[in-house]
């Protein structure tokens, strides 16, 4: 988060991940030429360009762009509660970096990424694309400051369902600090529409542990209401309620096959991304094995 530019931040995370993984997790078949590369032992001889070999007596591998078959819609919570942060950056910053990283990663491997921001309703919507300049547009959108509004998950997801007609992946990045009674219903709706749902639950460390020690007037960022709280007294109840809230979400996700990632803001993004990708691979493997069975 020390890097100011969101684009650069995302790039650093993705590059690091790329190097760490050594291997692209996806190898789709190629239809569109990308570049030539000298053949090294172990490369699949299917990809050797014979015409070049005939002309120049050199073995070259012809690389192709992977075919785009994934449409990922990044859905970012832009409510005021996302403006909270105790580590020098806010949850909104973290969410934006996460979204930019995901978009960058997906677009680098040829998938289309779109962006939707919401608070008490859908604010902005960029359909999933994979065109030159789309990432920049997406990042510009992500850098826009959050609007002053509360969170209404139910309304937002309902509106989103209307917007996303084509099936694809939906990455919902939110702190989910809103009543979740209707969340399960909305998740079920999106699942029924054939979308692949991933939920990134972003929370600040101070929210998770409630690490306050002095009595003070606590002001709700979304509603503006103030309440005098003695943390010593209130902590226990707070943690209990938060855990219940998380459990509710977790249960709803499990029930509707939603991939749930809990993301405290002090957790490195590489880790989150790695977890995400691992989970994707596991899911893919699971699907393959299920089909095989």
């Amino acid at each position: 988060m020390r890097i100011k530019s969101l684009e650069l931040r995302a790039k650093v995370v993705v590059e690091g991940l790329w190097k760490g993984m050594h291997r692209s997790p996806y190898h789709g078949f190629s239809v569109e030429f990308s570049e030539y590369r000298a053949y090294v032992q172990g490369d699949d001889p299917r990809y050797i360009d014979w015409k070049v070999l005939a002309r120049s007596d050199r073995t070259y591998i012809k690389k192709f762009e992977d075919e785009t078959n994934l449409r990922c819609q990044l859905v970012i919570d832009h409510s005021k509660s996302m403006g909270y942060g105790s580590l020098g950056f806010t949850k909104a910053d973290y969410a934006a970096t996460l979204a930019a990283t995901l978009a960058s990663f997906l677009m680098k491997q040829g998938d289309a990424a779109g962006l939707t921001t919401f608070a008490d309703g859908i604010e902005d919507h960029l359909p999933a694309r994979n065109r030159p300049g789309h990432l920049r547009r997406l990042i510009t959108e992500l850098e826009r400051p959050a609007k002053a509004a509360g969170t209404s998950l139910a309304v937002s997801i309902s509106q989103l369902a209307d917007l996303l007609r084509k099936r694809g992946m939906i990455c919902l990045i939110s702190d989910l600090l809103a009543p979740v009674e209707h969340l399960e219903k909305q998740l079920a709706l999106l699942g029924a529409m054939g979308h692949d749902l991933v939920l990134f639950h972003v929370m600040d460390r101070a929210e998770i542990d409630f690490t306050f020690d002095k009595s003070a007037h606590f002001r709700d960022l979304e509603s503006g209401t103030e309440r005098f709280i003695d943390p010593q007294i209130a902590r226990e109840a707070y943690l209990k309620r938060l855990q219940a809230h998380r459990d509710t979400i977790q249960t709803a996700c499990d029930r509707h096959n939603v991939e749930y990632h809990f993301c405290p803001t002090d957790r490195p993004l590489e880790e989150v991304l790695f977890d995400f990708l691992s989970a994707r691979q596991r899911k893919k493997a699971g699907k393959s094995s299920a089909i095989a069975a």
Partner: protein
């Protein structure tokens, strides 16, 4: 310890407030922004009070400050000293303003009534003196008279005040107060001294001289200001005249309106002049304007302003033009007056009368019996029988201009100056014309050419000149100007009181272009000025000024009210009235205008406190009652003792020290609290 206002001590009870405030727990003011209160319980109750005091040192200082404040307002003093210093008898000098501004409404009557009341209210053992002042102090009833005839004090003061009246003079309160201090003689040494000033205390009052003295600590001044119904007033005064000095030059007037005045419209007119000789206009409040007086077709001598209620300062007197006569004699034939080639012809035409000077030019080959003021000699050499008279004329202060025309003049010059080596020779005939090369324009005799604009002598040509030789460096003769061949052109000498000017070339066309040049008339009038006939107009005179009289002559002065006073030589006449004064000195009669001092027209009242700014010790308000009761007397003495001891002042110092300490301590504790919070 006694208290002047003990009720204020109750104010010390206010210390309960800081104690309560220290006991009260300040609800935490910290505000924390949190993402959501979704999982937080209802509000925790805010604690209100503490069981024990915190910051007791701060509390102590705050209580102490409140107690000191109450003590200060209660005005403490020590009774023992007060009893010792109190004296029942007073020495009061009643000082009445008698300046021109007291002519407004019934101010003078009220002032006299106040003075009479003060005299009546004083005890028989008190000492009372009365004095009236304007530009100077005039005692009416002295402490010495009061000491010897105290019983008849009231009647005597009333009689003397009845015969007095306000003057036309300005108000020099500073001088009057300084002189009044000296009126308290040794008989009043053991008494409580005070001056009771009864005045309108107008803005134009002079106070500056009060800064030059140290006001006696045992003398207090009680001011009884008399106010009028309205202070709105126009005032008019003469303004400095412009360069135009002719008799018909317009008179310039300075017109002022008081601040916040309701008046706007005024009318300025010459006395008894027709309607056409007046100006009707407006002047805003607080403004001062200089304007030209209306045309004076009737040759009136006073301008009158109308439009306000107070007319004491609404007249300006202007003396009619009275050019001074200058008797000038030309030693030569009067018949040449009409001959364009003769020097007299040009002299007669150059010496024209002006607004201030009336030259009378006479011409004859012999010196007249009555010595002229200025003597011109050109073309002739005074004979041996005339020379002693001319020498005598010069020694008595005469002014002689001699054009050297022949070598025979050397003997005449030698006889007058005593310089035996003087020789005159004719200049070379075949020579080209000469011009002036070096002119001492700084010399008093060539004063008109001191202005660099008038120093161009290059158009002035001398066809013929004589050579004056043998002057010597140490002789009485001094060269004022030389020709371009280095020979002297104008030479002067002081002979006793008189002045001699020698010209090496004449001004008539036969000798030079001087008479036809622009330099001639200024040169002549410069010589007239050097002879004591200044062209400058007389200074404006105000009431209280000395009339400009010739100390060598006796005069008869007729005041505006018709009173006549004969003055011996050397005696002075101080103007006490506004108006035209006639001064007769021998055959000469001069009219001198005396006006009201302009400051007297500034009638807005001053606050008595203004006097305190000049170091005057003002009496306390409680000190004003003339005959207090016993209880009142005791209270008054307490007031005075308290004022002398200044106990409250020390408490104030202590209070400030406590407050400083409290501020420092509070700042420190706040800082440490903030540091702890940051940590």
């Amino acid at each position: 310890m006694n208290w002047l206002f003990p009720l204020y001590l109750a104010g010390a009870a206010a210390i309960i407030a800081p104690i309560l405030l220290h006991l009260r727990r300040r609800p935490p003011q910290d505000r924390v922004e949190f993402s959501s209160l979704l999982f937080l319980d209802a509000q925790t109750p805010v604690p209100v009070s503490k069981r024990r005091l915190e910051n007791w040192l701060l509390l102590l200082l705050r209580c102490l400050a409140l107690i000191l404040l109450a003590l200060m307002f209660a005005r403490p003093f020590l009774r023992s000293e007060s009893a010792a210093s109190t004296s029942p008898d007073r020495a009061t000098l009643i000082l009445i303003d008698g300046s021109a501004s007291m002519r407004r409404e019934d101010l003078w009557k009220r002032a006299a009534a106040e003075a009479n009341r003060a005299a009546r209210d004083s005890k028989i053992t008190d000492r009372v003196a009365v004095a009236v002042f304007d530009r100077k102090l005039m005692p009416l009833w002295s402490f010495e008279e009061d000491r010897t005839t105290a019983a008849s004090r009231v009647a005597e003061i009333a009689t003397r005040l009845g015969s007095a009246s306000p003057s036309w003079s300005g108000t020099l309160l500073d001088r009057a107060l300084i002189d009044a201090i000296a009126l308290f003689d040794s008989s009043t040494a053991s008494l409580k001294k005070r001056i009771l000033l009864i005045s309108d205390l107008q803005e134009g009052t002079h106070l500056d001289a009060l800064r030059s003295i140290a006001w006696p600590s045992d003398l207090s001044l009680q001011v009884q200001r008399l106010d009028v119904a309205t202070v709105d007033n126009f005032s008019v005064a003469l303004a400095a005249s412009e360069e135009d000095r002719s008799a018909d030059a317009p008179v310039r007037i300075r017109l002022s309106n008081t601040r916040d005045s309701q008046l706007r419209d005024f009318k300025l007119a010459w006395q008894d002049a027709p309607q056409s000789d007046s100006i009707s206009a407006q002047i805003p409040p607080g403004a001062s304007r200089i304007l030209s007086a209306p045309p004076n077709s009737t040759r009136a001598t006073s301008l009158t302003l109308s439009g306000d209620k107070h007319d004491f300062d609404n007249r300006v007197f202007i003396a009619p033009p009275q050019p001074r006569t200058v008797r000038i004699h030309f030693l030569g034939d009067d018949a040449t007056r009409q001959q364009a080639s003769s020097p007299l012809y040009y002299l007669a035409r150059a010496l024209q009368p002006t607004a201030t000077l009336a030259p009378q030019l006479a011409a004859s080959p012999v010196l007249p019996a009555q010595s002229p003021d200025i003597l011109f000699v050109s073309g002739v050499t005074p004979g041996a029988e005339t020379q002693p008279r001319i020498r005598d004329f010069l020694r008595r202060g005469g002014f002689l201009v001699h054009v050297v025309t022949s070598p025979a003049d050397a003997g005449f010059i030698q006889a007058i100056t005593g310089a035996a080596s003087i020789a005159i020779t004719a200049g070379k005939e075949d020579e080209d014309y000469r011009m002036l090369a070096e002119v001492k324009t700084g010399h008093p005799l060539l004063k008109p050419f001191a202005d660099p604009k008038l120093r161009d002598f290059t158009k002035l040509r001398f066809w013929k000149h004589r050579v004056i030789q043998g002057m010597g460096a140490s002789g009485p003769l001094e060269t004022l100007a030389t020709f371009d061949n280095g020979q002297p052109a104008i030479v002067s000498a002081r002979i006793d009181k008189g002045t001699l000017i020698l010209l090496a070339s004449g001004w008539h066309p036969g000798d030079s272009q001087l008479a036809l040049s622009t330099k001639f008339v200024p040169l002549l009038y410069g010589w007239l000025a050097a002879a004591g006939f200044s062209h400058d107009p007389a200074a404006t005179l105000f009431v209280g000024d000395d009339l400009p009289l010739d100390a060598a002559q006796s005069h008869v002065v007729t005041s505006p009210d018709g009173a006549t006073q004969t003055l011996k030589p050397g005696e002075v006449f101080i103007a006490t009235q506004v108006g035209l004064h006639q001064v007769q000195a021998g055959v000469n009669r001069q009219i001198i205008a005396v006006n009201l001092p302009p400051d007297e027209g500034r009638v807005l009242p001053l606050e008595p406190q203004k006097l305190a700014d000049y170091g005057v010790k003002l009496a306390a308000a409680a000190d004003t009652d003339a005959a207090p009761s016993a209880a009142e007397q005791q209270r008054l003495s307490a007031v005075e003792t308290e004022q002398r001891q200044h106990g409250w002042w020390w408490i104030l110092v202590a209070l400030l020290a406590v407050l400083l300490l409290e501020t420092a301590l509070a700042g420190r504790s706040r800082h440490s609290a903030a540091a702890a919070q940051t940590a």
